[in-house]
Amino acid sequence: MSVLGGLGLFILVAFIFLMIALALVERRWPARFRPIPAFDALGGATERAVEAGERVHFSLGTGTLLGGEAGPALAGLSTLTRVADAATMSDRPPVVTAADGALVILAQDTIRSAYRRVSAIDRYHANSGRLVGATPLAYTAGIPAVLNDEDASVHLMLGRFGAEGALVADAGQRRQAFTLGGTQDVQSQALLYATAENPLIGEDVFAGGAYLNAGLFHRGSLRTQDLVRVLMVAGVLIATLLKTLGVIP
């Protein structure tokens, strides 16, 4: 095993240990996270949509499940679990769209599980998870039709988006829907900041589970993220100081 491999393995084990330990700590000493206005407003918007008989549209982005862009889509699926749980009471279940077949199948499984949990599997419909287009722009072109046809009043975007994400968010804004958008790409985040009414910045896209009470493990993993970030920033500052003082070459 190489030195870098050993270091990577150590960091992986430390990460897993911290996630489990902080999830256990969370039971006794729950953390207080800073407010994220987008997630604070999401619960109320979903409830209003359910009561008004309107649809929640959940976009898992234009990325695929394979490769480095899967992270935000996986985080989106865990947020979808909570949204689907809240929307199972509605006559009109949430509709989830993606540009990748595998993500569509996972979205269908997530919604089916939500219905199974409330013993209402007969109300599940396979068309709740849909492939809208197989390329980012084909997907973008199809979104306004989905929002209009399904009478969506909540438009959630959590997944991988490029520049086309601005158009997807704009489609929701033009319907005056509650539009929440988050992605991993920094430039696309800037576009979503301008176009979505409720943008998520930076790693906020991964915090949905913790903020929507998806479980102790979600809260523990968010605390792990925060702790590791503080350690990394401290490391960068110390290294900068040592380099400035000439202690390290």
Binding site: M19, G101, T110, G129, A163, Y193, R229
Partner: protein
């Protein structure tokens, strides 16, 4: 029985993920081969999932055509064009001139048009941002965006302003924007790691309960 299948699914997903993850750290030939096989299988399954997704797409639109729902004509056009493109691709291959022409003369122009729409959409979004969500950060965002535009456009009337605005744009882009982006990327990377690990440890089960 359902509980058993959930546990077995979680174990299978976690084991497959761990094999791939550990192969990046450990130089074990068997682990590397298993990881390679798993990744190739994932690509094959991804392609199969695309076909399932296409069937789902056709099913949704056939339902709209059958129910004569609003916009059913567009659905009919989509299904016909999908059938034509799919048949041509299967019969003649994707390098065929007819298939290439469909992409070059239909898909590319439509996609380029959408990208062009982005400029209009962002201008309107900028106005909305100031009109509806006025605040310190939104104002900084808009001023930065305007300074970037002023530093990038060709100054035909007052060419002397091109240089100072260009310097300002470079300073904003290379100091403030890069610094902020690095901070955001750090958070995104950590978030991606925890999202992946939650699936590996079966805390998140997107494959269903």
């Amino acid at each position: 029985m359902k509980r058993v299948s959930t546990v077995l699914l979680a174990i299978a997903a976690g084991t497959a993920g761990m094999i791939v993850l550990l192969s990046y750290f450990l130089d074990l030939p068997y682990l590397s081969e298993a990881s390679q096989w798993l990744k190739q299988t994932a690509v094959l399954l991804g392609a199969a999932a695309l076909l399932v997704g296409l069937l789902n797409l056709v099913g949704v639109h056939l339902g709209k055509i059958g129910g004569q729902e609003k916009g059913w004509a567009y659905s009919a056009l989509l299904v016909v064009m999908l059938a034509v493109t799919f048949t041509l691709g299967i019969l003649f291959g994707i390098d065929n001139r007819s298939v290439a022409a469909l992409f070059r003369y239909v898909q590319l122009p439509v996609e380029s048009t959408l990208i062009a729409l982005l400029a209009v959409s962002l201008t309107a979004a900028g106005y909305r941002l100031i009109a509806r969500r006025a605040g310190v950060f939104n104002s900084i965002f808009m001023i930065s965006a305007i300074l970037f535009i002023l530093g990038s456009i060709p100054w035909l009337i007052l060419p002397g302003l091109a240089e100072p605005f260009g310097i300002l744009r470079t300073w904003l882009a290379e100091v403030w924007a890069v610094g902020g982006a690095r901070g955001l990327l750090l958070g995104v990377a950590l978030g991606s790691i925890t999202a992946g690990l939650r699936v590996l440890l079966a805390a998140d089960r997107p494959y269903g309960d």
